[in-house]
């Protein structure tokens, strides 16, 4: 081939290469924690296979922000990481997951997170399973059973002195759930037996709240300032103050000597997880599912499990995960999912302040539960708190 032709070919190739349109980045809105975010940015987001434009949404405002974005359809992401409790409320804004993803080897607990109330439609890809378990040092005896009473008994046996607090629980409605459920109450505003009632209508809720609140100052330390619960628990565990720590896998990644941990189930503990969903407004839904598949690839799930104690959602990843992640998974199998109701996440808005008021001795359990019932009934009546449209 003549030199001139070669030069022309080379110039053409270079010109074509320089003008080739760059693939549109996958817009990913997520609620990862700090460490998970940095791992994601350093690996998948920066890889050659994916051009990702990710944006962090703080978990505390996640449901609200995501709802606003999907409602206005501006800056619509291609993939969103949400809490499993948000799925019922966002369902109408989502597209079902493709069949090829549905056929992967999901664990039953993970698979149950992506469907709602018997509807076989799969709305998401499960990214992790979480919930509350009891963590202890492996040298310490496990509670006799998974019941709350045995957990309290074990903690009391581990109480070394009057001012020690061997039990790690948090002033949060999520932690209160096992106690509520053990007394027949639940996190619901539609009672199975009496339509329009709430799961707190019986006396069990008051008893549960009283029992739970009584632990603080006895077996559990007085609560720290709001917002500092997680670091306070971590500090106390690292200091060896906690014998039995009721927590979730999201806390385990920060622990040293994870090989020394043992995990036990807690009866009636809540179980949930994190999901990857693609909204209807997504410009590149296929790319969104592609990134979802990558995030739930066996190697990625194992890496997240090794780094943060995240419980994998696929059987093959679980088999390759560290023992701690497998132990958490086994403990969570006995846990109970939260009600798949769009209003479930909102219930904590009222339950948490009531719980805090009781533990602070500002209210009796009766007063607090009564207030929560009123709030939940308002919610059941459709009063969402959205004001009438006003001037911008």
């Amino acid at each position: 081939m003549p030199v001139r032709s070669c030069v022309l070919v080379i110039l053409a190739v270079v010109a074509c290469g320089g003008q080739a349109p760059a693939p549109a980045p996958i817009r990913f809105l997520h609620t990862f924690g700090a460490g998970e975010t940095e791992l994601f940015n350093a690996t998948i987001s920066g890889s050659e296979r994916f051009a990702v434009e990710s944006s962090l949404v703080p978990f505390a405002r996640g449901q609200q922000v995501i709802s606003e974005i999907l409602h206005t359809a501006t800056s619509c992401p291609d993939l969103i990481r949400i809490d499993a409790t948000w799925l019922p409320g966002l369902r109408s804004e989502l597209v079902p997951s493709p069949p090829d993803l549905a056929g992967l080897d999901w664990t039953p607990e993970a698979a149950s997170l992506v469907t709602i109330d018997g509807d076989p439609t799969r709305w998401a890809v499960p990214q992790s399973v979480d919930g509350l378990v009891v963590v202890r040092d492996r040298e310490r005896p496990a509670p006799a059973t998974a019941s709350i009473d045995d957990l309290v008994a074990a903690a009391r046996a581990g109480k070394a002195e009057p001012r020690s607090y061997p039990l790690g629980i948090r002033v949060d409605g999520y932690w209160l759930l096992p106690w509520l459920r053990s007394e027949g109450a639940d996190l619901s505003i539609v009672s199975v037996d009496v339509p329009g009632s709430t799961g707190l209508d019986g006396d069990g809720a008051v008893r549960a709240l009283a029992r739970f609140a009584a632990l603080f100052g006895d077996l559990a330390a007085p609560p720290p300032p709001a917002g500092s619960e997680a670091p306070d628990e971590l500090r106390r565990w690292q200091a060896g103050e906690l014998a039995y720590w009721v927590t979730g896998p999201w806390q385990l990644g920060a622990l040293r000597d994870r090989d020394r941990l043992a995990v036990s189930p807690l009866a009636h503990a809540p179980r949930g997880g994190q999901l990857l969903v693609v909204p209807r407004c997504a410009k590149h839904p296929a790319d969104g599912w592609k990134l979802a598949a990558e995030l739930t690839a066996v190697a990625v799930e194992v890496r997240f499990a090794e780094s943060f104690g995240t419980v994998p959602t696929r059987r093959s990843a679980l088999d390759a995960a560290p023992p701690l992640a497998r132990a958490v998974y086994e403990a969570l199998r006995a846990a109970e999912p939260l009600p798949r109701d769009p209003r479930t996440p909102l219930l904590f808005d009222d339950l948490n302040p009531a719980l805090a008021a009781v533990i602070a001795h500002d209210a009796t359990p009766d007063e607090a539960i009564a207030g929560v019932r009123r709030a939940w009934r308002r919610l059941a009546a459709g009063v969402t708190g959205h004001p009438p449209e006003g001037p911008p």
Binding site: P25, F32, G33, A34, T37, E38, N41, S45, E53, S54, S55, L56, V57, P58, A60, R61, Q63, Q64, V65, S67, E68, T74, S75, G227, S228, K283, P345, L346, F348, D349, D350, N352, P353, A354, L355, A356, A357, V358, D362, A363, E367, A368, A370, G371, V372, R374, A375, R378, V383, T384, G385, H386, P387, P388, E389, G390, P391, P392
Partner: protein
């Protein structure tokens, strides 16, 4: 023939150049890299410090506002139906929190109970953990953010919601108070990348060809904004010619839930100006140092190799047999020493060459001498017979006989021939002493006197040659300054002095002849101690025409003469040198001290 040492010069130059370039380049590169890293670190540190300062100010203000509103909400929740108390509360709240531009109080059902209408789109009932600070809103030329706080009673029951619009003008004030570097800017963006406040107008600074988000959003247009919104930790990013430091405000405890981010951005050429100056200075200084080093390298290489080239030339000349060529080679250190050694070698080679030449000539002369002695010995006897018969025939002839003249001529020529033969025999005669003090007179042979008194010899010579000198219109004077005995046979010294004086006399006679006898010459014999005191110096000088320089090297050669043919034998000075050398002394010729006439200087060891 040896080639000029240009290749050596280039090799030396190469070595010196490498020795200069390598360290200079290494040091220069290290300095540049180090300076760049240091400046980058300092730029990033400074930018992050700006961000923290702005973030802390922002956080402090918002945190104070939030706490005050939360406190007001909790107070209001205890008695939400007391309108007057609510009015006082809101008045105090606006006074204590001046950034509150609007305030709404809703009841638990979401109905407005007090204050301003709730802005459109504000969510007061969603899952928000008791309240939140929303994204920035831009309206009416103002940028505000909505603070939503749930008002709960003592028992934790929801009684209402406070919605406060916070004017973010204070953010601009905080940013304006920051002392920014050249071209630097601080930008606060909300969760969608829309600038909330900045130190300058950033709208439209970045072409927005690919963005489909909210108007004015920098997300997708500025990589640093994307990185800031996607990250949970502070960091830095250099992209699109800007050095950016960023921090997501959700990292501030009191602002959990806030999706804002703060960025400090500075043009790369401004941020790294110091590094660029350092690089430039390093290149200039390094280049200058390199140039100087190269110049010095050329200079020293040339200086180093020039003597080597001279040495090579000298070696070539020596090889060509010209050992005396060139001036002494000078050079530094070992090269100078080498030059000296080569000069010394050349000198010795020349001496050896001369010596070999002299030896060859000496051998020839010795052969001539031996042959001459043999010839002289053979001729001497018949010559004596010829002379005797010539004398007899003269005596037999009467006066006036016509043959007398011929006989007289035969006799005189025979006499002259006998003198020549005698000179040859004298020259060939080898005294048996070879070294002073070792001589032992042979039994029956001539005796040798080695305690010669030069003064006595001089007086004897004066007396001996007086008449002859008078005839030649010359005066012989003597200056006796030493009475030391000298180690030479008196007869030999006398012969030497007589020879020299006669030569002077003849030279002056010829000069007088050329000047028509108008002048009268003086010959001086001086005896004085030689420098060092172990020898005696005897000079014979005259005020004659002197000896030409060209003749001086050969005046002591046998048969060399400047006299007319038949006047001299050419053996006188050769015999003199032979006698003096045999005594261990030396004789040389030169000009008289005053430059007039010749002077022979004889040094003979003292006895």
């Amino acid at each position: 023939m040896t080639k000029p040492s240009s290749s050596l010069r280039w090799r030396v130059l190469l070595v010196l150049t490498l020795a200069a370039i390598v360290p200079t380049v290494i040091v220069g590169v290290l300095a540049i890299v180090r300076a760049r890293a240091d400046v980058e670190r300092e730029v990033n540190r400074g930018a992050l410090a700006h961000i923290r300062a702005v973030g802390a100010a922002l956080d402090g203000t918002l945190q104070g506002a939030r706490r005050t509103v939360e406190l007001a909400a909790a107070t209001w929740a205890d008695d939400p139906d007391d309108a007057r108390r609510t009015q006082l509360l809101t008045k105090r709240l606006r006074r204590d929190v001046p950034i509150v531009s609007a305030l709404s109080i809703l009841d638990a059902e979401g109905e407005l109970r007090h204050g301003d209408p709730v802005p459109k789109g504000v969510d007061v009932g969603s899952h928000s953990f008791g309240g939140y600070i929303g994204d920035a809103q831009h309206a009416g030329g103002k940028t505000v953010v909505h603070l939503v706080v749930q008002a709960r009673s003592r028992t934790g029951e929801l009684m209402g919601v406070f919605v406060a619009s916070l004017d973010l003008e204070f953010v601009r004030d905080v940013i304006a108070a920051a002392r920014l570097g050249d071209g630097a800017r601080v930008v606060v963006v909300d969760g969608t990348g829309v600038p909330v406040a900045s130190s300058e107008d950033v709208a439209g600074r970045v072409p927005g060809e690919a963005w489909v988000g909210p108007p004015g959003s920098l997300a997708g247009r500025d990589p640093a904004v994307d990185r800031a919104l996607a990250s949970t930790v502070e960091g830095t990013l250099t992209a699109n010619g800007w050095v950016s430091a960023y921090r997501n405000l959700s990292s501030y405890q009191s602002l959990r839930g806030v999706r804002w981010a703060i960025l400090h951005q500075q043009p790369e050429h401004e941020a790294y100006a110091l590094a660029r100056r350092t690089t430039r200075d390093t290149l200039i200084i390094g280049g200058g140092a390199l140039a100087i080093a190269l110049a010095l390298g050329v200079f020293f290489a040339t200086r180093l190799t020039r003597p080597l080239a001279a040495l090579a030339h000298r070696a070539d000349a020596i090889a060509a047999g010209n050992a005396d060529a060139g001036s002494p080679i000078k050079g530094p250190g070992e090269i100078g020493v080498l030059g000296q050694r080569i000069d010394e070698m050349a000198r010795r080679i020349a001496e050896r060459s001369e010596l070999q030449t002299a030896l060859a000539r000496g051998d020839r002369l010795a052969s001539v001498g031996v042959m001459s002695a043999q010839v002289a010995h053979e001729i001497n006897n018949p010559l004596t017979t010829v002379l005797g018969y010539a004398k007899l025939l003269q005596e037999d002839k009467p006066e006036g006989h016509p043959d007398l003249a011929a006989l007289e001529l035969i006799a005189s020529e025979a006499e002259r021939m006998k003198g020549i033969v005698g000179g040859l025999l004298e020259y060939a005669r080898t005294p048996r002493q070879s070294e002073r003090g070792l001589e032992t007179p042979a039994a029956g042979g001539p005796t040798y006197e080695f305690n010669c008194q030069p003064a006595a010899v001089v007086r004897h010579v004066n007396a001996l040659l007086g008449p002859q000198l008078k005839k030649a219109r010359a005066t012989l004077t003597s200056e006796i300054g030493s009475t030391a005995s000298i180690a030479i046979e008196s007869h030999s010294l006398q012969q030497v002095l007589v020879n020299l004086v006669q030569n002077s006399a003849q030279a002056m006679t010829e000069a007088q002849a050329r000047s028509d006898g108008a002048t009268r010459g003086t010959i001086t014999i001086a005896v004085k101690p030689a420098p060092g005191g172990i020898a005696t110096l005897i000079t014979v000088s005259d005020d004659g025409p002197g000896i030409p320089h060209k003749d001086r090297p050969r005046v002591f050669d046998p048969f060399f003469t400047t006299k007319a043919a038949g006047v001299g034998t050419g053996l006188g000075l050769a015999v003199c040198k032979h006698l003096i050398a045999t005594a261990g002394g030396s004789i040389e010729v030169g000009d008289r001290a005053d430059g007039r006439g010749a002077e022979f200087r004889i040094v003979i060891p003292n006895a």
